[in-house]
């Protein structure tokens, strides 16, 4: 199976080939380098006029993409490391996300900002973060993250076709992973229900259970951890978990989660960003507001610390497989 990176790369090639309004801009995109993580490899050779390599100017990259989107193009901006999205915050929050509403729906901003997030590669405090939580809940801005279940390329093409701005968050560790195949390998023991939507959520249930005991909510790379925990619980304790896997993080559309919680009453959220005021906090708050009786919640997230360079420290700061399983057992405890 092709990897997540290959899917994303193919999607960009396809989008550029089929829509002359699609432009790609960012730092170091030109072949033979083809971008720091190679997601844009080959594009500048195939579409030299529509691939713009830029100076190190994140605000201007996203700002220019904003202007391009306002005036009829469909730009895809790459921010080399997700840590640098802080430099684009004014453009995303005060410009891209506001224009449509602020101008009374008279304009559209079909902008995609792609960026790799996440740690576990020893890049240290400013090249390892998962900062997407800072952009969740910004009115007018969609935040989307691919995973290994649904075609990341289709997700990216949906973002490019979207008339509103999308922050597209790619976890670095997913790039080299192949897409999973339902019914095979790691998915052999899951029943999968894909929900409708442009950025579809999915519900994975450990096969053979009509009484799941736990809901694990996750997105992106943390689907990898959630899946293994679900299988551990199944094989070692005969506990059936449901995984609710989100592709769209914001706006929060949580009906599949609430639906699962009416069966399990136990919520475990897993994210790689720091814990305080994170994605899981919003899920927990909204779940609590539904009034599901006896709801118990645990959040797994990074410690509220910068991400260290040393692997020993990084492992202590970011959520580990063991931490996810441990938290699952805690929330399952009577």
């Amino acid at each position: 199976m092709p990897t997540v990176l290959e899917h994303l790369n193919s999607a960009l090639h396809h989008a550029m080939a089929t829509d002359p309004r699609v432009y790609v801009l960012g730092e170091d995109l030109l072949d033979p380098y083809g971008g720091a993580f190679k997601v844009t490899r080959g594009l500048s050779t195939a579409f030299p006029e529509r691939v713009l390599t830029t100076p190190i100017s994140e605000a201007a990259i996203v700002g220019a993409a904003n202007g391009m989107a306002l005036r009829g193009l469909r730009p895809v901006a790459e921010i080399m490391f997700g840590d640098f999205v802080t430099l684009t915050a004014d453009q995303l929050i005060n410009h891209a996300a506001k224009f449509r509403w602020m101008y009374n729906d008279q304009v559209r901003v079909p902008l995609v900002v792609r960026t790799p997030m996440g740690g576990r590669r020893g890049y240290g405090p400013t090249h390892s973060q998962s900062l997407e939580k800072l952009f969740l809940g910004v009115p007018g801005l969609r935040v989307v993250a691919p995973n290994t279940l649904d075609d990341p390329g289709a997700l990216l093409e949906a973002a490019i076709a979207d008339d509103d701005p999308v922050l597209f968050v790619e976890h670095k560790l997913l790039y080299t992973r192949p897409l999973l195949v339902p019914g095979q390998g790691e998915l052999a023991d899951f029943e999968i229900r894909r929900l409708p939507g442009t950025y579809p959520a999915a519900v994975l249930r450990a096969a053979g259970s009509d009484r799941p005991g736990l809901t694990i909510a996750c997105y992106g790379y943390n689907f990898e951890l959630a899946r293994k925990t679900a299988l551990d619980l199944l094989y070692e304790r005969e506990i059936f978990a449901e995984i609710v896997l989100f592709a769209q993080l914001s706006p929060f559309e949580l009906d599949p989660l609430f639906d699962s919680l009416t069966r399990t009453h136990r919520l475990l959220t897993v994210e790689e960003g720091s814990r305080t005021l994170g994605w899981g906090a919003e899920l927990a708050a909204r779940a609590a507001e539904t009034g599901i009786p006896g709801l118990k919640v645990r959040r797994v997230a990074a410690l509220d610390l910068p991400i260290a360079n040393s692997k020993a420290l990084e492992d202590a700061i970011l959520p580990t497989q063991a931490a996810v399983t441990q938290a699952a057992l805690e929330v399952l405890a009577p």
Binding site: P55, S57, A59, G67, L70, R71, D90, M102, Y103
Partner: protein, 317 residues
């Protein structure tokens, strides 16, 4: 005070404008436009005391020659990105005073249905936003889009001396020059960033900022609308030729406070600037009867705009 050393004066006036805004280029029209902006802004400041306006506004009073001189040089389809002090630009663009008044009153008939207010308006190819600096990369991207789509349009972005402190501006000048974008950057130096005088906010020179990126810039110290118009025509023509971006630096002065009540400037300094009032400078080119005609036309237009806007309903979500 003179900031830089370069100047585009004297500029040749041999450029055929050839656009629909010919109608705005005679002495009467230029005067009437400056007067419309002046009286509109004065009316706005008055209306705050009547409670019909809430929030804030940034009056263009004193800078009218800039807008009135620049817009006749543009094609009607050109794209404009303005800033917090955008009313003068909008009116000179040809925007309706009534729709602007309605927006400022928060009415559903306003330019953006009351969602934007004074600093956040959009109509046709005119846009404004209230965050300093961030509009410049957006304008550069717009210029890229117009170039890519071969529309022949140029993009004009308005900034002030205060915006020269924003880093995004310099990233954008760099991009615009590298990519030869059809972008005209107009710096209206009114000498104060809110209350901070330029001596405390801007090092070096303004032309030097453009020169650093290889962008030709024209600098003008005047409140004469005819001089602004000539320089603007030359700058616009240069950008439209396709050689890349250009700068137009207009040293000016605002007679009013930055917004409403935040003026700490020396009254003598303001009085000296008022001696070069763009209306007073241009007025002798019209006889008294035509000046009075402009005054009564503008008054009627503004009375009508505010009366209609006042009667309009407020929006709902």
């Amino acid at each position: 005070m003179r900031i830089g050393t370069q100047s585009c004066r004297p500029v040749s006036c041999g450029i055929a404008l050839g656009y629909n805004r010919h109608a705005m280029t005679d002495d009467y029209s230029l005067y009437a436009m400056m007067l419309l902006i002046r009286r509109f802004e004065e009316r706005l400041l008055e209306e705050f005391s009547t409670g019909k306006l809430v929030g804030t506004t940034h009056a263009y009073i004193g800078q009218e020659a800039d807008a009135a001189g620049i817009f006749p040089a543009l094609d009607p389809e050109d794209v404009v990105f303005s800033n917090h002090r955008c009313h003068g630009h909008f009116l000179a663009y040809g925007g309706e005073p009534y729709r602007l008044a309605a927006e400022l009153m928060g009415k559903s008939t306003g330019l953006v249905g009351g969602r934007g207010g004074s600093q956040h308006i959009h109509w046709r190819n005119f846009y404004s936003n209230g965050v300093q600096g961030g509009i410049v990369p957006v304008a550069a991207g717009m210029a890229l889009a117009e170039k890519a789509r071969r529309t022949g349009r140029i993009v004009v972005v308005f900034v002030g001396d205060g915006t020269l402190g924003e880093g995004a501006l310099y990233e954008s000048l760099n991009l615009a020059s590298l990519w030869k974008l059809p972008l005209l950057v107009v710096v209206e130096n009114n000498r104060y960033a809110q209350t901070t005088p330029i001596e405390l906010g801007v090092s070096g020179t303004i032309p030097g900022r453009f020169a650093a990126f290889g962008i030709p810039a024209c600098e003008l110290e005047t409140t004469d609308v005819l001089e602004v118009r000539r320089a603007a025509a030359e700058s616009v023509a240069r950008v439209r030729e396709g050689a890349g971006p250009a700068g137009l630096i207009l040293h000016t002065y605002r007679f009013s406070a930055h917004s409403k009540g935040d003026d700490v400037r020396d009254p003598d300094e303001i009085a000296r600037a008022r001696a070069r009032d763009p209306l007073t400078v241009h007025a002798p080119r019209l006889d008294a009867a035509r000046r009075e005609r402009a005054e009564s036309n503008v008054r009627a237009q503004i009375d009508d705009a505010f009366a209609r806007a006042d009667a309009d309903p407020f929006p709902g979500l």
